[in-house]
């Protein structure tokens, strides 16, 4: 791996802007790393080498002509293969859409392009964004850069794997029940599930439109803040998108956290946690305390019931998305995904609507009983290290619900509440697998999550460690 491939996204963008390196050089460095890791990790579905180099040349020429360039000018990124580009194939990790060419381009893709980013390729993902491990029977399982025998987490499997392996400087994922935070945690990178409505969902594969969110996976918190600022904000094409002004997240990284109250849940979030995970959580809290933050233990409204209500919405909406294909070509789904969609046909409509109506009630309750007492919540993303691919492969439909619940128990409740959550690397197990905490916050308070996590990364170097591949 070249030193260029190891730069952070923010440093890569600065190096281009200052003309210390060209976009072509950075793009070649990423392509070289992508080609090197692909046989081991299978993190790409398509590497668009010629187009990427062509775009990088154009970026370099543009910089020669003008100093006014975007905040990602010439920086190569790669994205989960569910972000539509008009006329280009988006497989969504499936067999069913292997030749699907969307007629529209996702708003977030347009915004990244306007900011100057280079499209390096499309990344592997769980079929139809519907499993939390990264297994994919159609395009091959995506593998963890820290140990290819282990899962990447899903569904944004390729995003976690490629960013972790330094094959691109950042990536878009999507999170409906943990699909950004899980691969970020398992692959040792940063991942943001934003507040519902912060980022446009226009032009992406729907999984469960009431809970789908779009967010970045990056190497550092500062990188994540930059990409989020670029993609966030009102979009007339997505009426569920908020019209509030987007803060300058990078500027807000600079504040202090003295006196900030960091909540640690006394129920649910540590159930089943290994001693190693608990130890890493305690150590990360000690780092945050050293900045003057106060750790406050408190019970939170039962996340297990939120999990079930979230599931009611998710499987009902997925059954609508997939109804036609489930009737006409069920054999083209993997066992994993078919088993997750099937129950959605049997949720009574009244139960689905009740689950939607209850969201406001439970959000109110959560805000009152938690966020009136603390500023952020801190908890493990996963209570166990990333399992092996073999041990998390379902043998039968009956295995699926348990596997999904085991991995998403700490992530899915936040999707139901629509709140922001940031996954942050917090160490490694004795076997060398990444461990991560998540910071959860009030609606649209991503700036505070970034600030806390950025301070943490100033004191730790977990995010700087690079897997040997």
């Amino acid at each position: 791996m070249t030193e260029l491939a190891q730069l952070s996204l923010v440093d890569a963008a600065a190096a281009i802007r200052r003309k210390k390196v060209s976009s072509v050089e950075l793009t070649r460095a990423c392509l070289e790393q992508a080609r090197h890791v692909q046989p081991t990790l299978n993190c790409f579905i398509a590497i668009e080498e010629d187009e990427a180099i062509k775009a990088a040349r154009k970026a370099d020429q543009a910089l020669k002509r003008s100093a006014r360039v975007g905040p990602l000018h010439g920086v190569p990124l790669a994205h989960k293969d569910m972000y539509y580009r008009a006329g280009k194939i988006s497989t969504c990790g499936s067999k069913i859409l292997k030749d699907y060419r969307a007629s529209v381009t996702a708003t977030v893709v347009e915004r990244l392009e306007r900011a100057g980013a280079i499209w390096l390729g499309s990344l592997n993902m769980a079929e139809f964004a519907a499993n939390p491990t990264g297994h994919n029977d159609h395009w091959g399982h995506c593998r963890n850069p820290w140990n290819p025998q282990h899962v990447t987490g899903g569904s944004s499997s390729g995003s976690g794997s490629a960013v972790g392996a330094r094959a691109c400087y950042g990536s878009l994922g999507s999170d409906t029940g943990g699909s950004i935070r899980l691969p970020a945690a398992a692959c040792g990178v940063v991942g943001l599930k934003p507040t519902n409505g912060l980022v446009s969902r226009y032009g992406i594969l729907p999984r469960s439109w009431s809970q789908d969110t779009v967010g970045p996976l990056t190497r550092t918190v500062a990188d994540c803040a930059r990409v989020t600022r670029i993609i966030a904000g009102a979009d007339p094409k997505d009426p569920t998108c908020s019209t509030r002004a987007v803060p300058d997240f990078e500027k807000e990284l600079q504040g202090r956290i003295k006196g900030l109250k960091i909540g640690v849940p006394t129920n649910h979030y540590y159930e089943g946690a290994t001693e190693e995970i608990r130890r890493h959580m305690e150590t990360s809290l000690a780092v945050l305390s050293s900045f003057g933050a106060r750790v406050v233990e408190l019970p939170v409204p039962d996340p297990a019931r939120l999990f079930q209500l979230s599931n009611a919405i998710s499987i009902s909406e997925a059954a609508v998305v997939h109804g036609k294909w489930m009737r006409e070509r069920p054999e083209d789904y993997s066992l994993y995904v078919r088993s997750r969609i099937e129950p959605g046909f049997h949720v009574p409509a009244t139960t689905y609507i009740e689950a939607l109506n209850l969201r406001a009630r439970y959000l109110d309750e959560f805000l009152t009983s938690v966020y009136s007492k603390v500023d952020v919540l801190h908890a493990p993303v996963m209570v166990i290290p990333p399992p092996t691919i073999a041990e998390s492969e379902p043998r039968d439909s009956a295995d699926v619900a348990g596997l999904v619940a085991k991995l998403t128990r700490n992530t899915r409740p936040t999707n139901y509440l629509g709140l922001p959550a940031l996954s942050v690397p917090a160490g490694f197990t004795a076997q060398g697998l990444p461990v991560a905490f998540q910071l959860m916050g009030r609606p649209f308070d991503e700036a505070l999550l970034f600030r806390v996590a950025h301070l943490y990364q100033r004191e730790t170097d977990w995010h700087k460690r690079v897997p040997q591949l």
Partner: protein, 72 residues
């Protein structure tokens, strides 16, 4: 509400959706749905007749940061 049964799931699946599933799988689905119905049953008492799904977006929008940390 009574629990969803394998028989109901199978009948719904084939008669309403045109999807045939085996008895064993129908029993698993009934179990999955049972957990969801149980959670909804337990929470239903919280709902008011004026509630509607869009209230969720309104609560999110009205609960942006109070700014304790931001003022520092």
């Amino acid at each position: 509400m009574s629990a969803s049964t394998a028989k109901t799931v199978r009948a719904q699946s084939s008669e309403l959706r045109g999807i045939d599933i085996g008895e064993g799988r129908a029993a698993q689905i009934a179990e999955d749905i049972g957990r969801i119905l149980e959670a909804a049953d337990a929470a239903r008492g919280l709902l008011d007749f004026n509630d509607e799904p869009s209230r969720f977006t309104a609560v999110l929008a009205s609960s942006s940061p109070t700014g304790r940390a931001r003022r520092r």
